[in-house]
Symmetry: C2
Subunit: 334 residues, 2 copies
DNA sequence: CTGAAAGCGCTTACAG
DNA sequence: CTGAAAGCGCTTACAG
């Protein structure tokens, strides 16, 4: 392994001068700089990240905590990983990926041992057990997803209430008076997936305000329940003229379910949903929907985290920031 | 931050004794051990990973390199990430995730700076530019996916030739004499996705051997080409009694396409494919298929890498290991 | 503009 | 069974 000492020797200068040349933290004469650059190139030198981290107490690594729930639709998760990774690299950080089922333990292990400068939590639930671990760690963290207690935490999430109201208003404006909502599965509510009830409750309230007949039904997320539940919901509400789907697994199979039933969109039924453009592209979804904005959420969260790390005192109090709902009309309503 | 020195002071012993108590590398008296354990618990001490890495030259981190191709079906990638992460944790390693488009540069950066003990490359192509970087790095690496030149590398992959022959034999045994194959998109071939032609060429050869009318067609991976290409293929071969699909995006939409055409499986058409059980579950795929085994591939690759890291001299020459094809009959053929 | 020295938090020969 | 000391590869006050 070539070290800064090898470079110093080859260039005929001290190790500190090489270090300063690398960091640019003091002026170096042109001649010295040339010799150092040559030596670095000749020896193919890269500073050791561990030694640097030990000295500076900065690892330039962020921890990313995923949670894989048995009952969850996996493809929906990857959409957040890529934007987070990209945004981190743009700030000079690498990503340490943790997928252990005991997320709190993973967080504590990695934070305590000083492997990361900050933490990004995905798929946050209402009563997320990782939050106490995060509050106890000396590294800052950001959440993507709203927990019940946001005390002391930076939180980024879609405004699910706004999303629900936007969709209800859209359908109401088109004259719909009986609407069905397919929600996430029951166990998502039970384990504290707050986005599920934030969306549902806001939709219910808005529909009541408009005097719309509105009914919410649990969807499924696992084969073969997904299709069965959709059929049952549609069978049970023959008078509904519009369907709202807030369930990734359900909306992914909806085209095939509707085809099987001979239902044409939007002639026989208007359909609206909530998903990302990328997700829709992967599953060929043609529905008017609120954009779930994983790219923007990931980027905002990481940029905030970067500021917290680099300017600890100056970043201000924790923020809870909601992305406003943006409706993308794909012509699936009438 | 609490250090090993704080623990030593609290326990009234030297730092080296604490270190040995932690590592178990020498015997410690019961009384001393008790005092050390108490101090560690009281101070909530965890050794600093960076300092340990600097001293031992072991980071206990593996780099995982993904590649996201514009034209690729993203959900297929995540299936490999989880098994790799799980297998790594089981061996005590964490995972540094790299998703940069310039994978060779990312590999070199992370390897040269000593951030990882080893590297896992996913989505390897025939002429993968990351391989030279890997060969030049001092850390060992494993590939999931077969490159053109395996010299010096440990490689794990599905036996795509075996898979193709298994499927052709299966259909031939059922009496099929005209078969269509949907391959990955043309650009996958062009960029060197060897699995694409390994599967196709083996299928062609085996079909010829059986005297089967066999035609291979490029599928698509992006909306709306996926469905269109399937329709075109089926329109062009009305005499085909069986369809082989080696294309994640195509097989994901196949149920809906066949429904639209009023084609019943297996009564009107037999269908076979190649995907993982997990993938099939997410997309509700009912087809008889060869299992693509991402779990096993990920686990085998990481375990091999772990041995290379821990027993550099004793692991033997590089291996190229193919997982045999296993047919899972889901009743989509007759 | 540059160098010698201390120190980040560990591990491990060396010595007793 | 335990301790004092050296050293991993850096960065950064301190000094000139």
């Amino acid at each position: 392994m070539t070290t800064i000492g090898d470079v110093a020797k080859a260039a005929g200068v001290s190790r500190s001068t090489v270090s300063y040349a690398l960091s640019g933290k003091r002026t170096i004469s042109a001649e010295t700089r040339r010799r150092i650059d040559e030596a670095i190139a000749a020896l193919n030198f890269t500073p050791n990240a561990g030694a640097r981290a030990l000295k500076t107490s900065q690892t330039m690594v962020l921890g990313l905590l995923l949670q894989f729930h048995e009952d969850e639709f996996a493809p929906a998760m990857l959409q957040y990983v890529l934007p987070v990774t990209d945004a981190a690299r743009a700030l000079g950080y690498d990503i340490l990926l943790m997928t252990e089922s005991d997320g709190a333990a993973a967080l504590t292990r990695v934070a305590q041992s000083g492997m990361v400068d900050g933490l990004v939590l995905l798929d946050v639930t209402h009563n997320d057990p990782r939050l106490d671990a995060l509050r106890a760690s000396r590294q800052p963290g950001v959440l993507i997803g709203l927990p019940g207690d946001t005390d002391g935490l930076d939180v980024f999430d879609l405004d699910f209430g706004d999303a629900a109201r936007t969709l209800v208003d859209h359908l109401h404006g088109l004259g719909h008076r009986e609407i069905c909502l397919v929600t996430p599965p029951k166990h998502v509510f039970e384990r504290g997936g707050a986005y599920a009830w934030r969306f549902r409750d806001a939709a219910l309230e808005r529909a009541a305000h408009h005097g719309i007949h509105f009914s919410a039904h649990y969807g499924e997320s696992r084969h073969p329940g997904i299709e069965q539940s959709l059929h049952a919901i549609l069978d049970g509400r023959p008078g509904a003229t519009a369907l709202m789907v807030h369930n990734d697994a359900s909306v992914a199979v909806l085209p095939s379910v509707l085809h099987r039933r001979g239902v044409r969109v939007p002639d026989d039924l208007s359909v609206v949903s909530l998903y990302s453009t990328d997700f829709g592209r992967n599953f060929l979804l043609p529905y008017t929907a609120v954009e779930s904005s994983p790219d923007e959420l990931g980027r905002l969260a990481v940029e905030r985290l970067g500021r917290r790390i680099q300017f600890p005192g100056e970043t201000g109090p924790p923020v809870v920031r909601f992305i406003a709902a943006e409706l993308i009309d794909r012509g699936s309503t009438s």
